[in-house]
Amino acid sequence: MGDVALSIEQLSVEVEGREILHNINLGMKLGETHVLFGPNGSGKTTLLMALMGFPKYRITKGKIIFKGQDITMLPLDERARLGIGMSFQRPPVVRGVKMRDMVAACLRGREQEESISQLAEKADLADFLDREMNYGFSGGEIKRSELMQLLAQRPTLTLIDEPESGVDLVNIALIGELLNSLLEKDCPIPERRCMGLIITHTGHILDYVNARTGYVMCNGVIGCEGDSREILATIREKGYQECIQCFLRRRASSG
């Protein structure tokens, strides 16, 4: 396996003056997909937003190294151009801006019309290219549209916020396919150049996408790290309550 391409070191993040994430450490190599579990409100989305560089999510301590470069102070759009992309859980409606324009913007002039149609076909959104961004989209349509844009953008690191939320069974299989394509799951492992960090509350997405490492986030810290399926099995069996209890016990004993 290659070197660490994303390294989050002792990262603390505050939102509107309140510290949400405390001392987060996380490392990822090219080709890997990691999964972030955690109960609602534990800080999962905050971590993704801070990695993407949204100004509202202020880094107060620590640093983010991406492809050897310290990007802690780098603005949102520069991070995007450097190779970080994000699938939003609830993207805003942008009236008047058509999906076709968005995909073209993501392609940044690399390829054009033909690839836009192909991508739309792949995401089952061929009829949506002339629709306004996210206007009147269903849950599944939003997810597919987000992943289609990312397929056009081709980021090295893809941050994916709850890919299965609000999605029916038919859609989730297609979303899994798109994710696998985005994360180059069809490539031999040593040749993969992409990384993924997926947030999931329920873990359903793991039925469709393989992920190496899992983390459980509680109260703004990473409570534990391990094999993603093993963690999911524990959560399914015992619920997040047990994770939290476990985390609290360990924190108490470590003083």
Partner: protein, 411 residues
């Protein structure tokens, strides 16, 4: 048609209204403008007009070098028609003074869709030297290419008086693109224009008007439209260049069953521009429909965006959408959507929104790799995009080009 009124009666009414202020907008002192200009020579071949004039006209959508995509052309400079021609059977294009000589019945239409005593501007047109265009589609004829007209202000401080009559006879179809512009980028001027549209049974007219004035020009168009049974009137108005003061509130009356009117307006107010622009639809016949859409952007100027729909007959339907964007500076947008229903069984609605660009939307686009200014430009372009149903692709593309040309000025 309504009863015939003698020309003298029009003059009397006009004299009585000569000092009557308009219902909306700043009162313009007509005394500060000159009312006549030297005669402009008639030009058989419009491509021989001065290069500067052609360039200005082109900015307003009027193409003179290659008329192949136009069904006809009419050009008026100051108060003199300098060219009129037709390239397609079934369409008539001429100056309104010629038309009045040719057709004695034309007086039946004179001041029928707009009242001569509406305000001092309509009165002034009647009382002073004026001209304008007459465009008519003969019964059953459908044109593919648009007829183009240009009203051009050449002389400084001139009051240009225009009275246009447009008639679409039964089951005809016609597209008109009209560009209004000035020779100078800075000289003061006044444009007063009356346009009366008569859309007969089953006829369809699209009217696309592009205004390209200068920061010293005042503009007071007065438009009335009568739409008969199954008729359609589609108006597109684009103003993206600076103007000192512009006030207009075109009114369409659906007088025949299932008549349809749609108004789309795109307004941009630069610093120093004062716009008061609305669209009014009166649904007087069963099953009549309207849709009024306006997009207003200010970069420092002031905009009043009005809309009014009145439903007076069963099964009428109307929707009004008024969206404003304060892009920068000290601009103001005042959206005034109004609905009036006078009986049960009508369906009228409106939505209005005024705001700045949402930061969340800008950041969403930035997360895809666009810079802040690229993201803002994309959102503004989207805001100005109005998908116009029923407009031929050629005109749609030209309209889009005119709008996109303004984006440079906005950013």
């Amino acid at each position: 048609m309504a009863e015939m009124i003698s020309p003298e009666t029009h003059k009397e009414k006009a004299r009585a209204a000569a000092a009557k202020p308009a219902a909306f907008g700043e009162d313009i002192d007509l005394g500060t403008y000159v009312s006549s200009a030297e005669e402009q020579p008639y030009q058989d071949d419009p491509s021989k007009l001065p290069a500067r004039a052609k360039e200005r006209m082109l900015e307003a959508g009027v193409i003179l070098d290659d008329p192949s995509q136009r069904a006809g052309t009419f050009i008026q400079m100051d108060n003199a028609p300098v060219h009129s021609s037709v390239r397609q059977e079934g369409v008539e294009v001429m100056s309104v003074s010629q038309a009045l000589e040719k057709y004695d019945w034309l007086s039946d239409y004179w001041w029928q869709a707009v009242a001569v005593d509406t305000d001092k501007y309509t009165a002034n047109i009647e009382l002073n030297q004026h001209n304008g265009y007459f465009i008519r589609a003969l019964p059953g004829y459908k044109t593919i290419y648009p007829v183009q007209t240009c009203l051009y202000l050449a002389k400084a401080r001139l009051a240009q008086n225009v009275h246009n009559i447009i008639i679409a006879e039964e089951n005809s179809e016609m597209h008109i693109i009209t560009g209004c512009t000035t020779a100078s980028n800075e000289e003061a001027g006044l444009h007063l224009g009356v346009s009366e549209f008569y859309i007969k049974k089953g006829a369809k007219v699209t009217f696309t008007m592009i205004h390209s004035w200068n920061p010293e020009v005042a503009v007071r168009p007065r438009t009335g439209v009568m739409i008969e049974e199954n008729g359609l009137f589609l108006s597109n108005y684009v103003l993206t260049k600076p103007v000192r003061s512009l006030q207009m509130y075109p009114t369409a009356r659906c007088v025949g069953e299932n008549a349809v009117v749609r108004f789309n307006s795109i307004l941009v107010a630069a610093p120093g521009s004062t716009l008061d622009v609305g669209s009014r639809a009166i649904l007087d016949a069963k099953g009549a429909k309207t849709e009024i859409i306006s997009r207003a952007i200010t970069t420092g100027g002031s905009i009043v965006a009005r809309g009014y729909i009145e439903g007076n007959a069963p099964d009428v339907k109307g929707h009004l959408e008024c969206r404003g964007l304060i892009l920068m500076g000290e601009g103001t947008i005042h959206a005034i959507p109004e609905l009036k229903g006078t009986l049960a069984g009508i369906d009228l609605s409106h939505e209005a929104a005024v705001g700045k660009i949402a930061e969340e939307e800008v950041e969403y686009l930035m997360a895809r790799g666009l810079t802040r200014s690229e993201a803002t430009a994309t959102i503004v372009r989207g805001f100005l995009r109005v998908d116009i149903e029923g407009l031929p692709p050629l005109l749609s593309a030209e309209l889009q080009r005119a709008i996109e040309a303004s984006e440079k000025d906005l950013m």
